[in-house]
C-alpha cells in the first residue's frame, strides 16, 4: 500500500513560534465596555468596524438573494417559523396594548371633555404607532433571539462551514431566507396586532358603557384614509429587514462556544430592538412628509 517515493526534507525555521489557534474576534465593545474618556476612541472604532462589516454582510446576502438557485423550501419554512409561530404572541401583545390604550385614552379624553373622540383616538393610535412598534419589538425579542442563537450554534459547531463545504451558499440558504421572511411577515403580523388591539380597545369601552362594534368602527375610521393605514403598516417591512439582518449577522459571526451563542442571542435582541426604535423615528418623520 505504501508507495516508495523519494524523501523530501524541508527545513524548519527555528525562529518560528509554535502555532496557536486563531485569536477569537472580539464582540463589539460598544455593547459591553463602559464609556470612559480613554476607551471612547476604541469604542467608536469598534462601532464603525461593526457597521462596515454589517454593510459587507448585507451586500453578500443581497447578492446571494437575487442570484439563482433560489431556496424556496427554506423560505417557506422560515415564513412559518417567523410568521405563524409569532402570531399568538403578537396578537396578545396587540390586545394588551389595545386595552391599556383604551383605558388611558378614556381617562384623558373624559378629563378634557373630548370623550366622543375616543374611538378615533384608539384607532389612530393603534394603526399609526402602537401596532407597528409593538410588533417590531415583540418580533425583535422572539425572532431576533431565535435566529441569533440558532445561527450562532450552527457556526460554533461548524455546521455553517459544512454547508459551505457542500457547495451551498450559506448567505443564500440561511441569511437571505430568514431576512426575506422577516420582511414579508412583519406587515402581516402588524395587521394582526392592529386587529387584536382595536378589538380589545372596543371590548374595554363596551364594558364601561354600551357601544356596538359597528358604532366603534364607523366612528373610529370616519376620518381615516389609506394614508393613515398603509404607510405605517408597510414601514414594518423595514423593521423586518433590520431584525433579520442584525440577527443573521450576529449569529453568523459568532465565535467562542456556548458563551458566544449566548452573546449572539443577547446582542441580536438588544441591537435589533434599538435599531427598530431608531428606524421608527426616521420613518415616522418620512411618512409625515410624504403621506401628509
Amino acid at each position: 500500500m505504501i508507495d516508495q517515493t523519494s524523501v523530501r526534507v524541508a527545513s524548519t525555521d527555528p525562529a518560528l513560534h509554535p502555532a496557536l489557534p486563531p485569536a477569537l474576534p472580539k464582540q463589539p465593545d460598544f455593547l459591553t465596555a463602559p464609556l470612559t474618556f480613554t476607551s471612547s476612541r476604541r469604542v467608536i472604532n469598534d462601532f464603525l468596524t461593526w457597521f462596515g462589516d454589517l454593510g459587507i454582510f448585507f451586500w453578500q446576502v443581497a447578492h446571494a438573494a437575487v442570484t439563482p438557485p433560489f431556496e424556496f423550501h427554506e423560505l417557506f419554512l422560515q415564513l412559518d417559523n417567523i410568521g405563524s409561530k409569532s402570531l399568538p404572541l403578537v396578537a396578545l401583545a396587540g390586545a394588551a396594548t389595545g386595552v391599556v390604550l383604551s383605558l388611558e385614552a378614556r381617562y384623558s379624553l373624559t378629563r378634557f371633555g373630548a370623550k366622543s373622540l375616543l374611538p378615533a383616538a384608539i384607532v389612530f393610535s393603534v394603526i399609526h404607532e402602537t401596532g407597528p412598534i409593538i410588533t417590531g419589538l415583540v418580533v425583535s425579542g422572539r425572532v431576533g433571539a431565535g435566529i441569533g442563537a440558532e445561527l450562532a450554534s450552527m457556526k460554533v459547531t461548524e455546521q455553517i462551514d459544512a454547508i459551505e463545504a457542500s457547495a451551498v451558499n450559506p448567505y443564500r440558504l440561511l441569511a437571505a431566507t430568514r431576512i426575506l421572511a422577516c420582511i414579508l411577515m412583519l406587515p402581516l403580523l402588524t395587521l394582526a396586532a392592529d386587529l387584536s388591539g382595536l378589538f380589545m380597545g372596543w371590548v374595554t369601552q363596551a364594558l364601561v358603557e354600551p357601544l356596538s362594534l359597528h358604532q366603534f368602527i364607523s366612528s373610529g375610521f370616519k376620518s381615516a384614509t389609506f394614508n393613515d393605514f398603509l404607510p405605517p403598516t408597510f414601514k414594518t417591512a423595514v423593521f423586518g429587514l433590520i431584525i433579520g439582518l442584525v440577527a443573521c449577522f450576529q449569529g453568523m459571526r459568532t465565535e467562542g462556544g456556548a458563551a458566544g451563542v449566548g452573546r449572539a442571542a443577547t446582542s441580536s435582541v438588544v441591537l435589533s430592538s434599538l435599531f427598530v426604535i431608531l428606524a421608527d423615528v426616521v420613518l415616522v418623520k418620512l411618512i409625515l412628509i410624504f403621506f401628509p
Binding site: I2, V7, P18, E158, E164, N169
Partner: protein, 264 residues
C-alpha cells in the same frame, strides 16, 4: 480565454491526472497567519488521483488549517492551491461552490446538521445539487451511501442519538454524496476507541479503493496514517519536515521525526 480553449485545457488536465502525470491537488508555497501567529510557513504538497496523503504533526501545527485552505473555508496570505489545475485562491463564493461539488470534506467533529435526521443529512448535498433527481431516486442513493458506511439502520435517527464514530460514518457518507474526486478528512479517528478507529480506517481504505479519489487525511494517529495513506507528510511549526513513505520516515535521522515516531 474562450470556452473551447478552457474545455481543451480541462480535458488535457483530466487526461494528465488519469495518466498520473498531473496532481489533482497541488499546494504551492502556502503561507497563513492568524494575527501575529504564523500557522503555515511555505508549505508545498501534491496529491495525485487515487493517492492518499496523510498529514501528521503535533496539535496546533496547522494541519486542519491546511485542509480548510484547500476547500476554501480560509484564504491563504500567500501561495496558491491548484485543484484540477485551477487556482482556487481569490475565487468568489459561487465560483468556489462549483469546485466544491467535486470535493468531499469530513469535519473533525462530523459537523452534522443537528436539526436534520441522518438520512436528511446525507440527502442535503443531493437536494441542492441534483435537483433533477426524483424523491425516490434520491432516497435510493441515500440508502446506498448509508449502506456503504454501515449506517442504514440509523437513517431515521437524529445526530444527537448516535455515537461519535457513527457520526463520522454519516459525515463520510455525506462527503461522498456527490461522488467527489477529492476527499479531505480532518482527524477521522480522533476521539474514537481503537475498534471504532480501525473500522473507520478500513472504511476509508475501502472507499478509496472503490472511488479512486485524491485524498488528504489530517491526523496525529500514526497507526491510522500508516494503514490508509500512500505517503505521509510530517508538519512542524508550519513547515513540512519530511514527506515520504512510512519506511522512509522510519529511516530518517531528523531529530523531530525520530521524536514523533518514538511517541506515536
Amino acid at each position: 480565454m474562450d470556452t473551447s480553449t478552457l474545455d481543451q485545457a480541462a480535458t488535457k488536465q483530466e487526461q494528465a491526472e488519469k495518466d498520473g502525470n498531473a496532481p489533482v491537488i497541488a499546494v504551492v508555497d502556502l503561507h497563513k497567519s492568524f494575527g501575529t501567529q504564523k500557522v503555515l510557513n511555505g508549505i508545498s504538497l501534491a496529491v495525485k488521483r487515487g493517492e492518499t496523503l496523510a498529514v501528521l504533526g503535533r496539535s496546533g501545527t496547522g494541519k486542519s488549517v491546511l485542509l480548510r485552505l484547500t476547500i476554501g473555508l480560509e484564504k491563504p496570505d500567500l501561495g496558491s492551491i491548484l485543484l484540477h489545475g485551477q487556482d482556487i485562491c481569490g475565487l468568489a463564493l459561487d465560483q468556489m461552490g462549483e469546485i466544491r461539488k467535486k470535493m468531499g470534506f469530513l469535519f473533525q467533529h462530523a459537523a452534522l446538521y443537528d436539526s436534520l435526521t441522518v438520512e436528511q443529512n446525507v440527502a442535503f448535498p443531493l437536494q441542492h445539487h441534483k435537483r433533477e433527481m426524483t424523491k425516490s431516486e434520491r432516497g435510493d442513493r441515500v440508502h446506498l451511501l448509508l449502506a456503504e458506511v454501515g449506517m442504514e439502520d440509523a437513517a431515521a435517527k437524529m445526530p444527537s442519538d448516535i455515537s461519535g464514530g457513527m457520526q463520522k460514518r454519516v459525515g463520510l457518507a455525506r462527503a461522498l454524496a456527490l461522488e467527489p474526486d477529492i476527499l479531505l478528512l480532518d482527524e477521522p479517528t480522533a476521539g474514537l476507541d481503537p475498534i471504532s478507529s480501525g473500522e473507520i480506517d478500513d472504511l476509508v481504505l475501502k472507499l478509496q479503493q472503490e472511488h479512486h479519489m485524491a485524498s488528504v487525511v489530517v491526523t496525529h494517529d500514526l497507526h491510522s496514517a500508516k494503514t490508509i495513506a500512500d505517503r505521509l507528510a510530517l508538519l512542524n511549526q508550519g513547515s513540512v519536515v519530511i514527506e515520504g513513505s512510512f519506511e522512509e520516515l522510519q529511516k530518517s535521522d531528523i531529530e523531530f521525526v525520530r521524536e514523533f515516531l518514538k511517541h506515536s
